[in-house]
Symmetry: C5
Subunit: 94 residues, 5 copies
């Protein structure tokens, strides 16, 4: 899982109605300091009513989507699975 | 899932006829601003009749292909699963 | 699997209570020399009571989480699966 | 899936005889223009009698190997699944 | 799969005894020329009695570990699945 910040929302047309009810958010990987990394933005489904500006935990694997959504028919492989409440990093990365 | 722009089409010879009917498109990852990232172009099957220039959502996992195509025999692990209608990004990445 | 160093802890709100009891740690990939790489920090569940400063083995795949935790309902795909006791690298990478 | 060019062959000793009959090729990711990217070379099994210099579609996931090879016992997760016949890219990446 | 060179060994404490008997090696991705790439070192289980200095084929997926080790309980997703005997690369990457 990666730390990300929610930076926006996306509305899209899907072939599969299963995905449509899920809110899709734009998230961008961050360092523990809060700084954005060079990694590409991801589109994630939201399981937690996260909002823009929230620091979140994002998993990129269909099996995790299945477990969190308790459904094997959600056609997505990226999900916001946690909203970060506290982050304590003792040693800064170089 | 990633934001991508459709930039072309590809025709190929496959061992497996299952993939042949699916349209194969060349997509390139973009930032929410629309700018291309440095990431490599991907070849994705199209579930939505997307066209060159469309902004799309791309998933890279065989399990998502199975769910969207409703088939366990499509030998592909990259799929255009959404066409982006609206994108609202409140905070620009650095 | 990758070599990482544990650099912190994270507390988060999850939709799924299954993940809550697992300790979540912030880990950062390192070279065998101990130097941090440019790779992004990861959030991993801990199966071994690892602590900040430990050098650990991290796997990023839901199937490994299932095997180590002996559970198919842990919604996570990154896990600390080993604490490194000894590392012997004969040939330095360039 | 990625566009790659076949750049060589590899012969190796495997524990598992299942893989031995499959031809192993060295492929390198390319841009649609044909230029090599900075991405690392991959070793892929060949399902199509591809040859050095061919432009191919490469998938990196065990499930795709299973589908194309119609076998659950091929211990490989990278496969040449298409030989590119035509590539039409309307918009050049930056 | 990727080409790697074995550069060392690692001893670690695991929660799961299943992994303990397997030798863990430190491998680093290389180009066909033998030069190290910028990619991070990986920790792989060894199925072939590989040694430091060997050029090997490494797969990063739990399903391949299962197939090669003929076991569904090995908690690992990176494996040395071949020792390279001969490598013939006709066209050098840029």
């Amino acid at each position: 899982m990666k730390l990300c910040k929610v930076i926006g929302t996306v509305v899209s047309t899907q072939k599969d109605d299963e995905l449509r009810p899920a809110k899709l958010l734009v998230v961008k990987p961050i360092e523990p300091s809060g700084a954005f990394t060079r990694d590409i933005e991801l589109i994630a489904i939201d399981s937690l009513d996260a909002g823009v500006g929230d620091t979140v935990l994002v998993a990129q694997e269909g099996a995790v989507v299945e477990q969190v959504m308790n459904s094997t028919t959600v056609p997505a492989n990226t999900i916001i699975m946690g909203i970060v409440d506290a982050l304590d990093v003792a040693e800064k990365s170089q």
